[in-house]
Symmetry: C2
Subunit: 182 residues, 2 copies
């Protein structure tokens, strides 16, 4: 499991073995039920116990604005900002030829179909600034541009950081991505 090394694993295992038998049963059942009940939203592919997730169902969300993320963790990070009022589409990963992950393994065709059907006004690509993120952004932009306006989130200096300590690539991106002030 991510973040659990051999020592933590041993500590957790010994803790579980010390618990009363009925607690372990309850825990095991909770795991099985969670796995059984939590599926994917059939619209945006975010984790959801129902066919349509809370965000897609919410009439207050702006359906004209669609934000594309790699996975549900990124969606939750954007939700924490409480600033974004549109809906999402969860790709389920990033295109990575090195790892044999092509667009057909991701929710790409469902994205194009959805943008076309819903007449989405703008798609915001919110993918990590990495080789895979950039590849996926460029691929999706080319695919979606016939249907809608495509934008990507800004890459540059994180808020609260010092220019002096920023790495060269980030500074280069921040210079390239400069915006007119008006």
């Amino acid at each position: 499991m991510p973040g659990i090394g051999p020592r933590t694993a041993q500590r957790l295992a010994l803790y579980l073995l010390r618990q009363p038998e009925e607690r372990i049963h309850a825990f095991a059942n909770a795991l099985v039920n969670a796995r059984k009940q939590v599926g994917q939203c059939q619209k945006c592919f975010h984790l959801s116990a129902e066919a349509e997730c809370e965000i897609c169902k919410n009439p207050a969300r702006n359906k004209d604005l669609l934000c594309v993320v790699a996975d549900s963790r990124d969606l939750l990070a954007l939700e924490r900002t409480r600033e974004y009022k549109g809906v999402y589409h969860v790709l389920g990963g990033l295109i990575s030829p090195m790892d044999g992950i092509g667009p057909e393994l991701l929710q790409v065709s469902t994205l194009v179909k959805r943008v076309d059907n819903d007449e989405t006004k703008e798609v915001i690509l919110a993918l990590t600034p990495s080789v895979e993120g950039d590849t996926t952004s460029l691929y999706l932009a080319r695919l979606l541009r016939p249907f809608t306006k495509v934008s990507r989130i800004a890459y540059g200096l994180p808020v609260g950081s010092e220019l002096e300590y920023a790495d060269e690539v980030t500074l280069t991106r921040a210079l390239e991505g400069r915006r007119a002030m008006d």
Copy 2:
């Protein structure tokens, strides 16, 4: 001195006391000479041993593009990118009403005069994303807009970072600062 706590200070002091007397003389002289010789470029206020610094003197640098930074450390960080080919203007700090630092204590009037005289085509504000940096950027943009195009570097996700671990304010800025892909 920055980064030197009491224990490091003691170690350095004891090291210096163990050195031969002539080495200490040479070191002291080097300090006095450096302080005496290194002044400011009269054009951009970067550190310089001469009236005009190496960057301002360089005919290969694009004089139409002027990047405004808070201090020489930020200038050196941007130089490390090897991407920026314009010239600089070093403010000598940021506007901070809390600390009693107003524009009159910074190289602001020299900046406006320079942009006006040199008919600079674009000024890029490269200030840290903080309250002081934002205040200074807005102030300078208002001041310079009658003379030239004003832009600011991008604030958003640093390259190589994970969306999931970005703080809310950075993500909000990255969303607000999104750019059309075309």
